[in-house]
């Protein structure tokens, strides 16, 4: 029973890793940019939600909607201001640029909101429990699991069933050809940045009741999301969900039975072991290159 309890909470936290990781993967497979500011973008948008909820006094649903809008705007803005000028940069150049942006966001958050931790008023409680098949589950765990699954479904519909999703997939396959065919590539990139930031914001909002709101709140979840993405294969959307769930469950079970101190270390060791066997991740496409 203890084991299944651990698996269940691992599943829930894993689905949050997956939501954060989805933003990274979506961006990577469309524009080949590895966004190191993903976590800090999510953190800043969660801070915005905090301000809306507390000082501005907007109702919860309204603040969430405004926050997601802000996330979208911030993401696309970053694309237009920073990424487009350095689009020729190598992978390292992009990592450095986005890491620079992460520093700016993190620093700005400290200046604006202060370095302390704050509690975000959240409608779901961690301390109200339900019994499901003999397992005790709190409201927040159920809620965040449901929201992440809905988010994944919506993303699936966006990527696979809409015209815009088709354009995104076309750009990810060959952006020059997509341009020739009349797809507005720049707009696709900008919107992808926006959607990615929204995914990050959803992750941030769902994590806020657990980690509390602070400038460093997304540090660990971002790394886990990134790790989940790499584990599943960076160009595979189902891969990151599987990766996130595996990561969450393994980490939680290890934490429950062996030691919580080395929880994250074990997660990373596991990823390195998987990558040694499958360098492209679980569901990633094999590298094919020409000289």
């Amino acid at each position: 029973m203890f084991f299944w309890q651990l698996v269940l909470s691992g599943l829930s936290i894993g689905s949050l890793y997956a939501v954060v990781g989805l933003g990274i993967v979506l961006l990577y497979r469309t524009s080949r940019v590895l966004n190191f500011a993903h976590g800090d973008l999510a953190m800043v948008t969660t801070m915005i939600a905090y301000s809306l909820l507390t000082s501005a006094g907007v109702v919860f649903a309204g603040s969430v909607a405004l926050t997601l809008l802000a996330a979208f705007a911030l993401g696309s803005l970053f694309y237009f201001i920073v990424i487009r000028p350095v689009k020729e940069a190598t992978l390292l150049g992009q990592i450095i640029t986005t890491a620079g942006f992460a520093l700016v966001l993190g620093g700005a958050a400290v200046v604006i909101w202060g370095a302390g931790t704050k509690a975000l008023p959240f409608p779901l409680s961690r301390f109200r429990f339900y019994d499901v098949f003999g397992l005790r589950i709190d409201q927040l765990t159920i809620g965040s699991f449901i929201v992440s699954v809905i988010t994944m479904l919506l993303l699936y519909l966006l990527v696979q069933k809409t015209k815009f999703g088709l354009a995104m997939r076309a750009v990810s396959q060959n952006d020059a050809a997509a341009r020739v065919l009349g797809i507005p590539v720049r707009r696709v990139y900008a919107v992808t940045w926006g959607v990615s930031a929204v995914l990050g914001a959803i992750g941030g909002l769902l994590l806020a009741p657990v980690t509390f709101v602070s400038p460093t709140m997304m540090f660990d979840p971002f790394l886990k999301g990134f790790a989940a993405a790499v584990l599943g294969g960076l160009d595979s959307l189902p891969g990151v969900i599987i990766g996130g769930v595996i990561l969450g469950v393994v980490e939680n079970v290890f934490g429950g039975y062996v030691s919580t101190a080395f929880k994250s270390t074990v997660a990373f060791v596991m990823i390195i072991a998987v990558l040694l066997v499958r360098p492209e991740g679980l569901l990633g496409r094999k590298f094919q290159r020409r000289v």
């Binding site: 700016v104 960076l234 101190a261």
Partner: protein, 337 residues
């Protein structure tokens, strides 16, 4: 300006021509004189500058020359720092090596060597991985080192941290910032010289070949496994030696000093200075370290300014500041064309 090269020795010379020699002598003279001209706190800062120069040069050998990404370099610095500290403490306790006149130069070497061993370990996955996948492995390594240090009090001293004995040569103790300055900068000059020579040897050419195209390099006979691991080992050695010096300068170690942000700062130094050039790495390290301490009274704005500078350099000059300097030099050479 450019003189005709007539003999093989001239072609091989590291420093060419009178102007370059004058510049070098002036630079070395200035470095030797600085601690006597500046107040103590600035000498302390210059020690950090020197340490970061060593890390940046080593990281540049890996990132700029071999094209392998490392986001966990702070792990190597930490390993070097702790290995050196444990070595110093052990020898101090046993009193054997103290008879040889104090082991501080050995501690620097041992810090480097310990990190190099881990460099090989991290380099092994690099044979199969690339790009973002390698990033996560190195990132995981850096985080793992920090976490293990935090949760293993026997090595890191736990919450109290760990104090580092002062370096001594017999009865002569290198206690002051000024004497440490000479230790740090002697190592800086020595390791820069090694790096300069390494990059123009066949090893350096193999590194560059791997960076430009690893498949083509392998076809032309570069042993990828050997050189990729070697690049990691050499780079880790630099970081480890810098870690040992850091332990001496800080005189106190604590696991939270070695966080992910440090790794990003190191990478930023290399990129801002100029990838794939040793003067670039030096320049970036000096500039960004001075910036860090220059802004110490406006600590909370530091990340914003730091990040802003990095983004600006990437947007305006992807070759880094040294790349811009080379362009200016070229322009002056061809002036008034």
């Amino acid at each position: 300006m450019t003189q005709l090269i007539q003999r093989y020795e001239e072609e091989m010379a590291l420093v060419r021509g009178g102007a370059a020699w004058t510049g070098l002598v002036l630079l070395l003279g200035a470095l030797a004189a600085l601690p006597w001209l500046l107040p103590g706190y600035y000498v302390y800062i210059l020690n950090f500058v020197g340490i970061n120069v060593i890390v940046a040069i080593g990281l540049n050998l890996l990132v700029g020359y071999t094209g392998q990404i490392s986001l966990g370099h702070v792990g190597f610095v930490a390993i070097g720092a702790y290995a050196a500290t444990h070595f110093i403490r052990a020898t101090e306790a046993s009193g054997v090596v103290a008879a040889l006149g104090g082991p501080f130069w050995m501690a620097v070497f041992i810090g480097g060597a310990a990190a190099a061993v881990f460099g090989v370990l991290v380099g092994l996955p690099a044979i199969r991985l690339e790009g973002p996948y390698l990033t996560i492995v190195t990132l995981g390594f850096g985080l793992a080192v920090q976490q293990i240090l935090i949760n293993w009090p026997a090595v890191s001293g736990g919450r109290i941290g760990m104090f580092v004995p002062q370096p001594a040569l017999g009865s002569f103790v290198l206690g002051s910032d000024r004497s440490l300055y000479y230790l740090v900068w002697t190592v800086v000059i020595g390791m820069s010289l090694v790096a300069f020579n390494l990059t123009r040897s066949h090893v350096g050419r193999a590194f560059i070949a791997i960076r430009d195209s690893d498949i083509a390099a392998e076809v032309t006979g570069v042993n990828l496994k050997y050189y990729k691991t070697l690049a990691f080992a050499v780079s880790a050695f630099y970081a480890g030696a810098a870690g040992a010096l850091l332990a001496y300068v800080m005189q106190y170690l604590e696991p939270t000093m070695f966080n992910l942000y440090e790794s990003i700062y190191y990478l930023a130094m290399v990129v801002v200075g100029g990838l794939g050039t040793i003067p670039g790495a030096m320049f970036g390290a000096v500039l960004l370290t001075l910036l860090q301490y220059g802004l110490s009274h406006a600590q909370e704005y530091l990340p914003v300014i730091y990040g802003g500078i990095v983004i600006l350099v990437m947007a305006l000059e992807p070759m880094g500041l040294y790349g811009r300097w080379l362009k200016i030099k070229l322009w002056m050479k061809t002036w008034p064309m």
